[in-house]
Symmetry: C2
Subunit: 346 residues, 2 copies
Amino acid sequence: MSLPRIAIDAMGGDVGVRVMIDGAAEARRHHDRFKFLLVGDEARISTALESHPNLREASEILHCEDVVGGDEKPTQALRRAKTTSMGLAVNAVKRGDAGAAVSAGNTGALMAMSKLALRTMPGIDRPALAALLPTLGENDVIMLDLGANTECDARNLVQFAIMGAAYSRIVTGREAPRVRLLNIGTEEMKGTDQLQVAAAQLRAATGLAMSFDGYIEADKINRGEVDVVVSDGFSGNIALKAIEGAARFVTDLLRNAFTSSLRSKIGFLVSRPATELLKHHLDPNNHNGAVFLGLNGVVVKSHGSATAGGVANAVMVAARLLEEDLTQRIAADMAALGEDRLRDSK
Amino acid sequence: MSLPRIAIDAMGGDVGVRVMIDGAAEARRHHDRFKFLLVGDEARISTALESHPNLREASEILHCEDVVGGDEKPTQALRRAKTTSMGLAVNAVKRGDAGAAVSAGNTGALMAMSKLALRTMPGIDRPALAALLPTLGENDVIMLDLGANTECDARNLVQFAIMGAAYSRIVTGREAPRVRLLNIGTEEMKGTDQLQVAAAQLRAATGLAMSFDGYIEADKINRGEVDVVVSDGFSGNIALKAIEGAARFVTDLLRNAFTSSLRSKIGFLVSRPATELLKHHLDPNNHNGAVFLGLNGVVVKSHGSATAGGVANAVMVAARLLEEDLTQRIAADMAALGEDRLRDSK
């Protein structure tokens, strides 16, 4: 089977062409059956490719000079979908010229362009932004939505659960990933009406490839006891950022503590391998690559300040989702479920 | 000036009478002008007081046998307001027999009883639950609401901001505490309508004893750059628990990392003072004592599983708020503000 290509927006992100090309090259070493479409300034891409013959032989360059700005409003960026590296990368997926697009550019613009070009899948009302977070368990946990939809109704939440479960089956290999709705308590009457209706529908629905068991509170997200945490985009974004901030807070405290006395400094040096392990677990680059789920095509957002290793992770997420055909899986799940079953279950 | 008494629900919480009495005794050593009303089983309280003559001489016991259950529904608990230790402690504040009540019992029941007995202050539509969180800066940050109100309108958020600022002036000594609304971005058009309206009103309002400057994202809560973070109860609860969970996640990772090799174990032992400092910062007992703001009287919730040190912290929060007359401060701020100015500012 020949795999679809991966389109890389080589211009997006805070760091520029080199880090995107270095990252793509690293990803290709792990997924060497893939070919690439590198979108951006041809001269700079060619220069960056000089150190990566393995990527160069697998790549075509699509030249363009226009770039979406980091602070640009999505509506503004949309007008330049045909001329910017981001727009052209997404459009390559639309045309079938690539199966996935990876960009480190402006999230809002990428979402808007992807929605407009790729449209949502049959049965899905709104796409959601999903990411992997580290846990104490064997697998990462998938969280969605992380900010694509500020407000969501029960129907959106149910669709997010189905999409998240499909993604998690690929990540964890579980046939029925453990799915929970993010809430402020685990009792049935907790939280908003939307949450309660969505929980009732998911409990009553048959034929879902997931193990749904109600609510999860935000302090349990990283325990490794669930595979998918579903929320509206506002709460999900708050939870994600709170986790990032708290992890940074603790490591900052730790650094201060370890440099506060000679004795601590010595301890720190002796225990270097332990703190390296910690750093490895918490480094966002190791979990880079948020996915827009629910579109007719795979779009992966790499963090704007990701390192080459982080970009490689994002590209590998795209590769993995193409190899396992996530889009087709979600379509099949939605079809298997049927609209009526969800409606009846209310 | 004679200070009002502090009523202690000696029966609430997971651990029982001894930890509440030990905690109150420790708090009194720091605030020795206070007298106490200890509510609960007289025999058990008397036994616990034997090791604390300093508290015994300052206390009256109000005997009762009935206790609100940890899982009891607030509506159910409300019916026993006159017979339970929690209800009697709150009612002591209502009658003017105490200035503050401290309980480690069921949060929902405590909120319901406090609202019914004490009523909200003039100008305040809904009380909010506020707590102190550790930061990298000099002061703790105050977060509210943490779950008393699942959904809030702009008017609620503005009132929370005013109450939080009054509390923060006591904690930080700043005349104009730095207040921000919790949101998923800092641009003006981000987030829900309620947030945008609340931000516009706070920006336009005059005479507020705070420095308001728009939004804060959840990853910045612990940086020490703001004094008050305002949100609806759903988002606030999500953020608080996400921070708690992430802090525990990192320390768990750290413990695993430090015990993974002999070299790390030695490093850990050598750097003990550093990790103790870390533990001190992150121990929730050191930040125990959430306050219901906006009632005609002070009610402090101690965590159900708090240690005696944690209870002491909660009691000291109550003592501090009485010494500084928080209720009067909020009333004065609301009066100074005036209803019209807020309405006009929209």
